[in-house]
Amino acid sequence: MRELRTAVIAALALTVALGLAYPLAMTGAAQLIFPGRADGSMVEVGGRVVGSTLIGQDFARPTGRKDAAGDPVLAPDPRYFQSRPSVTGYAPAATFFNNQGPNQKALAGQLDGFARAYLARERPYTPGLTRRGIPSDAVTTSASGVDPQISEANARIQANRVARRRGLPLARVLTLVDDHASRPLFGLAGPKSINVLQLNAALDREPSR
């Protein structure tokens, strides 16, 4: 009995201290010290929230056509760099992974579809691009479905299309890519990656010709 009483008091005290006081105090501290980051690193363009720097998004537009189910068909906007493919609709509030193992026919089919789409989109602007030349981040899905970044190689291929479709000099677009390429630990570790939303937002700020 005495043991049970101690355990009940301990459970209540620990729940209040660790389950309420600790996270609420941390929330207060985080909001005070890192206000924007604690709230999700949201990005505003012209006073409108367009997304988060940490969360990948779909740079696609409706084509005007409808699919069999009556939903509008979307196509990537060729004026923008495209995120890694996602099977979750880039949903940051309902994340999941497709869970296809390394030897599943379904995965091979999915990879094949993404590779076809990538080649169809980029080859007109990058002649000579083959399947073997596709950077693997461009056709694989990330674990989160909302990977905000792409590899440098992927960005350099897409730069050809974006430059042409926007009428910008390729050199200028590549400079923007370089400006947005980051490499962790003072460039020593991790893969060199480009944040797609920040790069696209910077493109939109370029004076049009």
Partner: protein, 577 residues
């Protein structure tokens, strides 16, 4: 593979080794009750806690008393957690007005967090409210970790005791573990994570319209505070379904590095705490060395395996690294290292989708968990399980060279050996039985998602991970069907939920009780001075014996099962489906 990737791995191992002595020494002081820097602040809180709980810190418990306190507190907390989950719609901070998860899923989840497993059949952000996560799950992140540390400390006291049968006072060890170790480290790590972009707010949902007009809904919550203890306590249950792959949990390469260190810091440092408490630091380093040597092999295998294209990629004519299920900001090196870290420690947080690992890449997490989570292992539980293997190693080596088995000057006799064997064999047996039941009956079938050997691997991984209290998954395996984003109309798969829940409870408490019983049996034994006939347990030679015992007793049990699943996949290019 890149040079930078190997540099990252070496840097990580070096830092882990460097923090082991100071953090281990600090914890030794804390659990001996010696003053530390934090005592000024935490001391008064500690005294109030003992008065509130009416615990006399001077009145030691024998192993049965200690075990009783552990079990009663766990039973009460299990009930509290189950009730919170089942009534979550009555509580605040529920931005999506989620209803209660079904009974079977709630049972599995309560068992999962109570046992430091944090297996996720539920899908974080779409099944549970922020309240359930912080007041239900995250509390267990602290408590289950604290219980693990407390039991380890009691175990070490049993090994080191010169007389009497006292192992310490459970509530004192638990209070100190939380107040001096877990909570302060969580505050620091949590704020570092927020500085990188991990969210910490109670705003709930935010709508946005993207650059091309696509709508996107964002959810924030008390994530960083939970993320910190999730790693430090080797828990692993994510706020979000995809765990530490979600940028809001693990936003940058640096946050990822910090999280990996947070996972292994305490389990590694406890080896030094052990060395100090038995007054032979070389004992601590021997165990550290055995763990490290197994771990280095594991890291290298995953890294090499993932830096190659998988059969599915090859079939689609693609080359390059296996980035399927991995995040660009981590790349192969950080994903491979995290995978090895989280499955060596019984953490189970993941920053990549383990289901998408290549065949041989997938062998490593499973094999590490199958050792019984002793390659660092869970906070506390990893080291007490490893010390059981040490006792077994002493017994086996003693028999081979014809010496009386002695450990730290105490004779290892029939009772200790029986209990040790129970503690080390029970979990592998349960894994095999549960997996066999799940794949041989029709009840296990609805949980399997992939085709061919991968479907078997999913089942094997599920029961290996749950019974060993790891919590990572080949996540195609499911115990919860969630049709449309809210849990209206969702249902649990009772067989998987209940079998998994029972496996987690048995896998936690049988070795825990066996360890306490061994400690109780050793506590009162006379210490004989070391002589020429003593088999020394603080040498590299004994470290090799220990590694061999772990491999033979634990891992060898599973070789046939591993061959049927991930190894077959690693050896063949065939596609299934």
């Amino acid at each position: 593979m890149t040079v930078a990737g190997w540099i990252e791995i070496v840097l990580f191992l070096a830092l882990l080794t460097a923090i082991t002595p100071p953090l281990g020494a600090y914890m030794a002081r804390v659990f001996r009750g010696e003053p530390v820097l934090l005592t000024r602040v935490a001391g008064p809180v500690e005294r109030v806690t003992y008065r509130l709980l009416r615990v006399d810190p001077e009145r030691g418990q024998d192993w049965k008393g200690y075990a009783r306190s552990v079990l009663v507190l766990s039973a009460v907390f299990g009930g509290v957690l189950y009730l919170i989950l089942r009534t979550q719609s009555a509580f605040p901070w529920n931005p999506r007005n989620l209803g209660a998860p079904p009974w079977d899923l709630s049972f599995n989840t309560a068992a999962s967090f109570l046992t430091n497993t944090n297996w996720q059949y539920y899908a974080g952000e779409t099944t549970l409210s922020s309240f359930s996560q912080m007041a239900g799950l995250a509390v267990q992140n602290f408590v289950s970790a604290g219980v693990g540390i407390a039991v380890l400390i009691a175990f070490i006291r049993g090994l080191a005791a010169r007389s009497g049968n006292h192992l310490g006072v459970f509530y004192v060890d638990l209070t100190r573990a939380i107040l001096y170790v877990l909570l302060p480290l969580s505050v620091v790590v949590g704020l570092v994570l927020v500085s990188q972009g991990a969210v910490q707010s109670l705003h709930g949902l935010t709508e946005a319209t993207g650059l091309t007009g696509r709508p996107q809904t964002f959810l924030t919550g008390p994530v960083a505070s939970q993320e910190a203890i999730k790693e430090l306590g080797t828990n692993g249950g994510g706020f979000f379904n995809v765990n530490s792959a979600m940028p809001y949990e693990n936003p940058t390469w640096l946050s990822n590095f910090v999280e990996m260190l947070a996972i292994l810091a305490i389990p590694a440092a406890l080896t030094a705490t052990y060395g100090r408490m038995v007054e032979n630091r070389r004992q601590g380093w021997m165990v550290f060395g055995a763990m490290m040597s197994l771990f280095v092999v594991a890291v290298a295998v995953v890294y090499i395996a993932e830096a190659h294209a998988t059969p599915a990629m090859q079939a689609a004519g693609l080359t390059g690294d296996n980035l399927e299920g991995k995040e660009q900001r981590f790349g192969i090196a950080s994903s491979a290292l995290f995978t090895a870290v989280t499955t060596a420690a019984s953490c189970g947080a993941v920053n990549a989708a383990l289901e998408a690992l290549s065949g041989f890449g997938g062998v490593v997490p499973m094999a590490q968990i199958m050792t019984g989570e002793v390659i660092w292992g869970g906070v506390g539980s990893g080291l007490y399980s490893m010390l059981m293997f040490v006792i077994l190693g002493v017994f086996i080596a003693g028999l081979m060279v014809g010496r009386t088995p002695e450990f730290l000057g105490k004779k290892i006799e029939a009772r200790e050996v029986k209990l040790t064997v129970l503690g080390t064999i029970a979990v592998p047996m349960m894994v095999l039985v549960a997996t066999a039941v799940a794949i041989a009956t029709k009840w296990g079938a609805p949980s399997i998602y992939d085709h061919g050997p991968q479907g078997f691997s999913e089942s094997l991984y599920a029961y290996t991970s749950q019974t060993n209290n790891n919590g990572s998954a080949f996540a195609g395996y499911t115990g919860f069907v969630q049709p449309n984003g809210t849990n209206a109309g969702a249902f649990g798969i009772s067989f998987a939920d209940v079998l998994g829940g029972l496996a987690m409870l048995a896998g936690r408490f049988i070795p825990l009780l066996a360890a306490l019983a061994v400690a109780g049996a050793l506590a009162g034994k006379r210490v004989a001075p070391a002589g020429l006939g003593t088999l020394r347990t603080d040498t590299p030679t004994f470290g090799v014996v220990l590694v061999a015992v772990v491999l033979i007793v634990a891992l060898l049990t599973f070789v046939p099962a591993l061959l049927l699943g991930p190894v077959v996949q690693g050896l063949s290019d065939q596609l299934y489906g």
